[in-house]
């Protein structure tokens, strides 16, 4: 065509077509937006923790953690009774929910037919979605109406909240159990229950503990179930009697914030700070266990 000879293949153009440049811009924009969204999430957490910290650190001292509340009008005192009460409620709820949750998880992952297992898990998911205030009213109707409030009723309400969490996370951990190990146990002539108790549970222990710790972190701050079951305290002092209403941190935050005294408001913030610290520490502990158990299974 033209008189000029062409030697070799035409040179490559790596600068990109106009469409290419536009796509690159869009790519940069989307990456930027995703990054901003992530920072926003972290920022929200930082703002919440930060403001609670700033508002609450003033009243957060040793007295606050170790002394009981003082009668209305006086200053000072602390929430020691609520701390002890929350610890008892959480411990009692854990003792009730964890064995049942584990047994459910063992059943759905090892013994049940898939259709039955799916139905059970669906029921647990629904239970997980029920508003905690409804659970509170339910336990109120069953255990409190006609009698008095009690720490035991509060613990039952918390256990109902904790149950689907524990069962679901235990189920996830158990289904990850390598089938080669299950077969090794079966080929030795071991019974199913022996394999579950002596081989599966110890191997999965880290993941199971993670689930329990996360459950504890969740119920430690649940307020609605306790409002109906253990919110009217009779005396100001550390009590461990679960047949009476036990003071606890979430309800205490609520009542302190309703009080006209600004000193009480400060204590409410400090109590909120305490709750956040508890959740943070428990989450870190859960994370550590999770890492350890993952490394174990990888051998």
């Amino acid at each position: 065509m033209s008189g000029k000879p062409i030697d070799g293949p035409p040179p490559l153009l790596l600068t990109g077509t106009p469409g290419e440049r536009r796509r690159r811009l869009v790519d940069k924009l989307m990456t930027l937006l995703a990054r901003l969204a992530a920072w926003l999430a972290v920022a929200v957490l930082a703002i919440v923790v930060g403001s609670v910290f700033v508002k609450g650190i003033g009243a957060f001292n040793l007295d606050f953690l170790t002394k009981n509340p003082v009668p209305f009008g006086q200053t000072g005192g602390g929430i020691a009774d609520s701390i002890v009460g929350t610890a008892i409620l959480v411990a009692l709820a854990t003792v009730m929910a964890v064995p049942i949750g584990f047994l459910i998880a063992i059943y759905t992952s090892e013994f049940a037919r898939p259709s039955v297992a799916n139905t059970v898990r669906f029921a647990l998911d629904i239970l997980n979605g029920i508003p905690t205030i409804v659970i509170g009213i339910f336990v109120f109707g069953v255990l409190v109406a006609g009698h008095t409030q009690s720490g035991f009723a509060g613990a039952v309400a918390l256990a109902i909240v904790m149950l689907p969490l524990t069962a679901r996370s235990a189920h996830e951990v158990l289904t990850l159990f390598p089938s080669s190990l299950r077969e090794a146990g079966l080929a030795l002539g071991l019974k199913r229950w022996r394999i579950v108790l002596r081989i599966m549970l110890p191997t999965a222990a880290g993941g199971l503990i993670t689930g329990v710790v996360l459950g504890i972190a969740r119920i430690a701050g649940e307020t609605a179930p306790l409002l109906f079951t253990t919110s009217i305290f009779s005396n100001f002092g550390i009590t461990t009697n679960v047949s009476q209403a036990l003071p606890n941190i979430p309800v205490t935050i609520f009542t302190l914030s309703e009080s006209p005294s600004p000193a009480d408001h400060e204590q409410a913030w400090a109590a909120a700070l305490l709750l956040i610290l508890m959740v943070l520490i428990l989450s870190v502990v859960a994370r550590t266990f999770h890492e350890r158990s993952r490394n174990r299974l990888r051998g």
Partner: protein
């Protein structure tokens, strides 16, 4: 009947537990056991995964105190067959088997037979070594015994004897409490074999036991098979025809869920009767 044999063996062991600390080298690792060696006879075995038939009527006898190899291309049913021999096939959801598998003269699929006892008497070693990760070397070998009620001196003796039988004793005797998964691949597989023979089965099934190992470890495993056959009946599934030639006196060739040919290993490889066998062993397919 299988149960009574197990009770007899347990009595013999507790009566004759030697003082291993003094007589470490004197206890023969390969002392002949009474009741060793029972043939496994398969009659009319059909195996299904749901509706799909994986074994289409197998009849074969695995002779006592011999190593029999099962060879064949992928998907021919050799793993299914071996898993039917200790009733592991039915562990897979939707899988079932029909027919007879007789250990001696007892049908393991018979009515009233306890499946877990069958699996203790017919042991299995898997392709990939699967020691229990949370247990030490000692506990791994002891797993079948401990969780079946054996305790104390008797337990220790049997664990040590197993480790000696698989040639691991010298390598691990100073670190019996370290985790089982800390061993090399070949050592882990020998650990799994020790775990299997610790419960003193009659038969050992091996599903491609050395396919994941390096040649040196493979050789060790093959030597082990040769020693173990004095006390057990051994059935080995293998992809590796040279391995079958090295370890097995008898070989069976399977194709598409059927047993095509079964006879002395040398005949199968040099003078097969069936044309399909000849094509497989000469590498024309599979």
């Amino acid at each position: 009947m299988i149960l009574s044999r197990i009770r007899q063996r347990n009595k013999q062991n507790s009566a004759s537990s030697p003082d291993t600390s003094a007589a470490d080298q004197a206890v023969p690792a390969d002392a002949p056991r009474e009741g060793a060696g029972h043939p496994v006879t398969v009659e009319g075995l059909h195996a299904y995964y749901g509706k799909s038939e994986a074994l289409k009527g197998i009849d074969i006898e695995f002779e006592a105190n011999r190593v029999t190899a099962i060879i064949g291309p992928s998907g021919c049913g050799k793993s299914t067959l071996i898993r039917c021999l200790n009733r592991m096939h039915e562990v897979t959801p939707g899988a079932h088997a029909e027919g007879k598998v007789k250990l001696g003269d007892v049908d393991i699929y018979g009515a009233g037979v306890d499946v877990t006892t069958v699996r203790r008497v017919i042991g299995m070693v898997f392709q990939k070594a699967n020691p229990f990760p949370t247990m030490s070397i000692f506990d791994n070998v002891a797993a079948g015994l401990k969780l079946g009620g054996v305790r104390g001196e008797n337990l220790r003796d049997r664990v040590h004897r197993s480790l000696r039988s698989v040639g691991l004793w010298d390598e691990v005797k100073d670190r019996l409490d370290t985790p089982g998964i800390g061993l090399s691949g070949g050592q882990q597989q020998r650990l799994c074999i020790a775990r299997t023979i610790a419960v003193e089965p009659e038969v050992i099934l091996m599903d491609e036991p050395a396919s994941a190992l390096d040649p040196a470890s493979t050789l060790k495993i093959e030597e082990l098979m040769d020693e173990l056959k004095a006390r057990y009946t051994i059935v080995v599934v293998t992809h590796n025809m040279q391995q079958a030639a090295r370890v097995a006196a008898t070989t069976a060739f399977m194709l598409n869920g059927e047993l095509i040919e079964h006879g002395p290993t040398s005949e199968i490889f040099t003078n097969p009767k069936d044309e399909r066998t000849e094509r497989y062993v000469t590498g024309k397919f599979g």
